[in-house]
Amino acid sequence: MAHTLELRAATALITDPMIPVWYGIERLKRETHDTFTLGLAPANGTGVASFSPGQFNMLYVFGVGEVPISISSDPENCPALEHTTRMVGAVTKAMGALKRGDLIGVRGPFGTPWPVAEEAGRDFLIVAGGIGLAPLRPALYALMKQREKYRKIVLLYGARTPEDILYRHELERWRGKFDLEIQVTVDRGASGWRGNVGVVTTLVGRSPFDPSNTVALVCGPEVMMRFAVMELQKRGVAPQRIFLSMERNMKCAIGFCGHCQYGPAFICKDGPVFRFDRIAPIFGKAEI
């Protein structure tokens, strides 16, 4: 909680929250055929803005437009803010064409974080679908940073095909180095793939966590989250211990434009991370 207040204080110093700060592209990695990760650091050489796992930035490509992208770096070890982005529209495609050294306007960080620090002593079950792993990655880093504070940590990650798996090397490293159980599955296999095939929700039922003492963090396409929540509840995880990251159209990210409203919540400031019981009345309702 205190961290969030500090963040608010830091961002309040900016007199106009609609003006981006220029960051340069320090690192650029092609993850898959349509997904890339940018590592950004301030162009004027100052330190990167601090952030909490689950938060996002508004990234602006000069003359093209601005989009909300989750921050996917390690919050404690972050020389450059990483953003894993999928090319789906004009702005993200323009971003995908940029090179190391190019500038991107950054506003943020915005949004509510995953509840990592406040849930010591629990099992953590992380369910990620597709690019939903990106906003969960900082939470994984935070959990591993203080590994002894938590009991079982399980990551269930579903990707479209083996070629679409993000952060492959890191997943292997985490598996080996930390006491972290990782199960990866793909919707569609490929020759040479000897792992799970099937949607990620099928992994929840047989995962070894204690439902009475587990916090679940879920992020992915809304349909996947609906079924994941169903499986979690079937296993007996309490609605107050399930957290989701929601997404809606976003323009200003500061609660003024009204676009990101989800029921009474503004996803830019009341989310994107929501405790499930708080959105249960509208979650899954058509066209809300």
Partner: protein
Amino acid sequence: MIQSLESVIRQHPFFRGLEERHIQFIVGCAKNVRFDQNQYIFREGDAADQFYFIREGLVSVELMVPQKGPATVQTVGEGDVLGWSWLAPPYRWHFDARALHKIHALDFDGKCLRAKCEEDHDLGYEILKRFANVVTERLDATRLQLLDLYGAHA
């Protein structure tokens, strides 16, 4: 600690709630089996006279597609039940099941259970209920796979 076959059956959620006499019968139909990596557990078209409960390892449920090779539709792993074609005529497997890793499983004699279910409809109903649930779960999962949720603008 090696668990006895009987204790594994009694503890698994799939068999929970069965009457004692039914459990005894099922234990009688069961045996431990092992498969090596890449070994087929069953093949499309073969007689379907058993079902399996996977204790360890991952199984690929697949079809051999001409010119393409084996295509995995789903994998089935630890704690899962494998195989329902033994329940209804013509009692033939519709897919291949191949061990992706070393498999340790329980093999249940389907022929024997079928006969017993015909005789004892109470047992038959309990077995069918449980398998209906397995099929529902696999169907839900398959439908989600079909939606290709991670595809571009699915």
